[in-house]
Symmetry: C2
Subunit: 470 residues, 2 copies
C-alpha cells in the first residue's frame, strides 16, 4: 500500500520544515505541468531541500518507508521523465541547490550545485573569462542536475560534445540516501568503472545529482558565421565534410534548416525580415570559433571554393554581432514557430552522419504516405546526425484530425530511423514518452544489463519508477 | 573445486579445435609474461578464438562449468590486469579477431575487430585519408580490445580525449556468453544507460570487447612543434594556460620533461644528439595541429610573446618532419631509458591541472625523505594533470637496496597525490597491482556501486576474478 498524503506530508515537514514542502494542487502546479502539457498526474508532495544533507535525509526516509521519488531540476524535459507517472510519488526538486562551489579558470573547470540554471552557468563561466559551451533553447530554466540527468546536447556538440563530455564528475544521492562523491576535476582517472557516465543520462533512475564539476574552455577570439543557400541535404552533407576537413575542431556548429521554417517565422512575425541571401529550399548555418592566437578562421575562403565546387549557391556572412544573433534566433525558433502554424508532430532522432540526406528523403515520403499534404520541417544538427524531424499540419487541415494520426506518423518515422541504424531519441531521452518503444527497439542484452544495473543500485525501485525502463 | 587442466583443455579443443588452444607452459609463455615481469602465474590454457561466435561459445561453456576467464588483447598492460592471478584461469585472447568491419571516412568513423593493433588502426585510418589520434608507446603491440578495456590515454588526450572519448560504441560478450551489440556510429543516442562507457575501462571484468566503432578525424594540414626551455613546472603551467587560451583545441600536445631524462638518453646512446636548444632544468614539448583551411597555426608568434613574458627561456621549433620526430622520440623514450640507468620506481598519477607544480615539488621532496639521493624523473601530460612520476636509483646506489624501498616510495607519493585530490592511476588502471590501494582510497559508495554492478552483470564471478575490485 503506498503511503497517503496524510502520512507523507507531515514526515517531509519534520525533515525539511513547512517552508520546504508543497502539497496543495495549486502550489504543486508548476512542478507537475511539463512544457508540452502531455503528461499530467498529481504527486503526494513536492520536497524542496536546500542542502545535500536534506536531499539525503529525504532519500533515507523514502527508502525506509518505501515512498517513490521523482527527481526534478528545471522541469524542462520533453519526454516526461521529471514529472510523476503514478500519482503516489514525491517530487524532489533540486531547484534550491543553487550556487557555485568552486571556479578555477586556469585549470579549466567549475563545480556547481545542481540547481544552477544553464544560463547562470554560462554567466559564471563568462565572469571567469571562460566558456561553458552547452546551448539549448530552454537554457534560462534548465538546471545543471537535469542537463546532466538527461545528457543534454544542443548546437555546439559537434566540437565540444554533449553534457556527458562536458562533465568531469558528479556528486549524487543514491536511492538509499548514501552519497556518491564523484566530484573532482581530474582529466584522467582510471580507477574503476565509469560511474559518472552511468549517472549522466540516467534520467533520475539511479540517483539524484546534487553537484557537478564541468569543463571550462578558453573563449574564442571571434566567430565566423554564415547562413548559406544549399541545394538540399546531399549538398549540405558534402559541404559539412569539406568544412570539417578544412576547419577541424574550430567548426563549432553546422545546422541544416528548410525554407518553410523561415516562411513560418516571417508569416507569424517571429522575425522581422528574412535573414537569408535569397530563397532556397534549404539552408545551412555554419560557424567557426577562432582561437585568439589564430587571426583569420578562413571561413570566407573555404566558402569561396565551396561555391566554385557548386556546394553553396549563395549566402550571407554575418558582419556584426547583431547579424550573427539574427541567424541564430531564426535557427532557435524553428521548433517554437510550428505551434503558431497549427498542430505539429515531432521526432528527435539521429542516424549516422552520412545517412542524414537519406533519412530526410525517406522519412518525408513515409510521413506523406500516412498524411497526404503533411508539411515536413526537418532541421537540426547535421554534423551530429541529429535531426529534429518535425511535421506541421497540412495547409488548411484540421488540427484534431491531424493529431489523430500522431501514432501512425511516429511509427512511420521510427521505422525508417531503425532501418538506418539510428536512434529514436538522440537528445531528449526516454522518460515516460518512449518506454514502450525502447523495449521494442533496444538490443535485448542492453535492456537486460540496464535492468540488472537498476536492480543492483536501487533494489526497492524507489527512484523515478516506471521511467526509462518502464 | 576448480576444474583441472585435463578437464579444461579437451573441452576447449572440442569448442575451438586443437589449433586454437595452447596449454603447454612453453607455448603459453607469451601470454603469461607481462611487460614488466612483475606478475607471473600459470593458466589452465590459452584460448584463441577466431570469431565472435567462438568467443561466445567459450564463455557459455565457462559460465556453465564455472571456469574463470582472463580476457587478453595485446598483453601490454602495466598493472597485470590481462594475466592470471590464481592459476586456474583460462586466458581468452582476442588477438585473432583482427580486421576491419567498416570504414566511412566521410562520416568519420571505423569499426574494427578487437584484435586489431593500435598501429594497424592508425594505418587503416590513414588509408582512408583520416586520423585516429590515440598514441601510446606500446601501439605496435596494443590491440583495440585492450586499448578500450583499459581506457588508454597517451599524448593527444588534451585535444582528442582518451580511448573512451574516441569510441562511439562496442560489441562485447558478457560473462554468460550473451552478446551486447552496442556498435553503431551515432554521435548522439540518449536511449538508456551509457553501457559503452561501462565496458571501456572495466579491465575485462564485465565483458570481452570483440569490436568497436571508433571516431576518425580530419588530418591536420601540418604540425607546429617546439621543444622549449622553461624555468620549471610553474612556468610550464603558465605557458600551458597561455597557449591553450590562444590556440584552443588546436593545441594537441603539451608535455613536460626534466633535463635528467635527456641526459640519460645521451649517456645510454638512445639519442645521438641533444635535441634541445640548450641546457635547462625543464623542457616543454608543445604541438599545434593546424587544420587545412587555416594556414598559419600561430605557434611562433605565441612563443615570441611568451618569451617576452618570461615564460620561455629558449627553444627550438621543428623545421622538418625529421626534427619533429626527434623531439617526439626523446619524449617517448623517457620511461624506457630508466631501465638502462638502473632500478626505477614508477607512478602513473594525476592531479588537477593547476596542481602539477605542487605535485612535483612535494612528491620529489617526499621521495627524497624516504631514499636520500633518489633521482626524480617526472614527465608527461601536463595539460591533462597526468604525470608519470618516476624515480631512478641514486647515482652509484645499489639496485636491490633501492627496490627494497619500493613500497615506502609508493606510499609517500600516493599520500601526496591523495592529499591533492588526485588519482593513483591516471592511465594504467588497477589490474592486480593496485587492488588493495583502490580499496583504501576510493569513495566507499563508489566501491559499493562497483561491486553491485559487477555482481549484477557477472553473478558467478567468471570474468577476470580478483582484478580491479580484488
Amino acid at each position: 500500500m503506498p503511503l497517503s498524503k496524510d502520512q507523507i506530508v507531515p514526515a517531509l515537514i519534520t525533515l525539511l520544515g513547512a517552508d520546504s514542502v508543497r502539497f496543495e494542487e495549486a502550489e504543486m502546479e508548476g512542478y507537475l505541468a511539463e512544457p508540452r502539457r502531455r503528461f499530467k498526474t498529481s504527486a503526494r508532495a513536492v520536497a524542496l531541500p536546500r542542502t545535500v544533507a536534506e536531499v539525503q535525509a529525504v532519500m533515507e526516509w523514502a527508502h525506509e518507508v518505501g515512498v517513490h521519488v521523482v527527481p526534478q531540476a528545471g522541469n524542462t524535459g520533453l519526454v516526461g521523465g521529471q514529472v510523476p507517472l503514478y500519482g503516489d510519488e514525491v517530487i524532489v526538486s533540486v531547484s534550491r541547490l543553487g550556487g557555485t562551489r568552486h571556479v578555477d579558470a586556469a585549470a579549466g573547470h567549475m563545480t556547481l550545485n545542481a540547481g544552477t540554471t544553464l544560463e547562470e552557468a554560462h554567466r559564471i563561466a563568462e565572469a571567469a573569462g571562460m566558456l561553458f559551451p552547452l546551448y539549448i533553447a530552454s537554457q534560462g530554466s534548465a538546471r545543471i542536475g537535469g542537463v546532466l540527468g538527461s545528457n543534454a546536447g544542443g548546437v555546439q556538440v559537434l566540437s565540444y560534445g554533449t553534457a556527458r563530455e562536458l562533465c568531469l564528475g558528479v556528486e549524487a544521492v543514491l536511492a538509499d540516501g548514501s552519497i556518491y562523491n564523484g566530484l573532482g576535476s581530474l582529466r584522467k582517472d582510471n580507477t574503476g568503472y565509469d560511474l559518472k557516465d552511468l549517472f549522466v543520462g540516467s534520467e533520475g533512475t539511479l540517483g539524484i545529482i546534487t553537484a557537478a564539476t564541468l569543463k571550462l574552455f578558453p573563449k574564442p577570439d571571434h566567430h565566423e558565421t554564415a547562413l548559406l543557400n544549399v541545394a538540399g541535404p546531399e549538398a549540405a552533407l558534402a559541404l559539412f565534410t569539406r568544412l570539417r576537413e578544412r576547419a577541424g575542431s574550430t567548426l563549432t556548429a553546422f545546422e541544416l534548416m528548410p525554407r518553410i521554417g523561415f516562411d513560418f517565422q516571417l508569416k507569424h512575425k517571429m522575425i522581422a525580415q528574412d535573414p537569408t541571401a535569397e530563397r532556397s529550399d534549404w539552408y545551412v548555418l555554419a560557424e567557426i570559433s577562432v582561437p585568439r592566437g589564430m587571426g583569420d578562421g578562413g571561413l570566407a575562403a573555404m566558402l569561396e571554393t565551396a561555391m566554385e565546387a557548386g556546394l553553396v549557391g549563395n549566402g550571407v556572412m554575418a558582419e556584426s554581432l547583431a547579424q550573427r544573433e539574427a541567424f541564430w534566433t531564426a535557427r532557435e525558433q524553428m521548433s517554437e514557430v510550428q505551434s503558431k502554424e497549427g498542430a505539429s508532430i515531432k521526432h528527435d532522432v539521429s542516424v549516422p552522419v552520412a545517412a542524414v540526406p537519406e533519412l530526410i528523403a525517406r522519412g518525408s515520403a513515409a510521413a506523406k504516405a500516412v498524411v497526404p499534404g503533411i508539411r515536413p520541417v526537418p532541421f537540426g544538427h547535421l554534423g551530429d546526425g541529429n535531426i529534429h524531424f518535425n511535421f506541421s499540419v497540412p495547409e488548411g487541415g484540421d488540427n484534431a484530425e491531424f493529431m489523430a494520426r500522431d501514432e501512425a506518423v511516429h511509427a512511420a518515422i521510427y521505422k525508417v530511423v531503425l532501418e538506418m541504424g539510428g536512434s529514436i531519441s538522440a537528445e531528449h531521452g526516454i522518460g515516460q514518452l518512449k518506454t514502450a518503444l525502447l523495449k521494442e527497439v533496444k538490443d535485448p542484452t542492453a535492456l537486460k544489463m540496464m535492468r540488472a544495473i537498476k536492480s543492483a543500485l536501487d533494489p526497492k525501485g524507489i527512484l523515478n519508477p516506471g521511467k526509462m525502463l518502464g
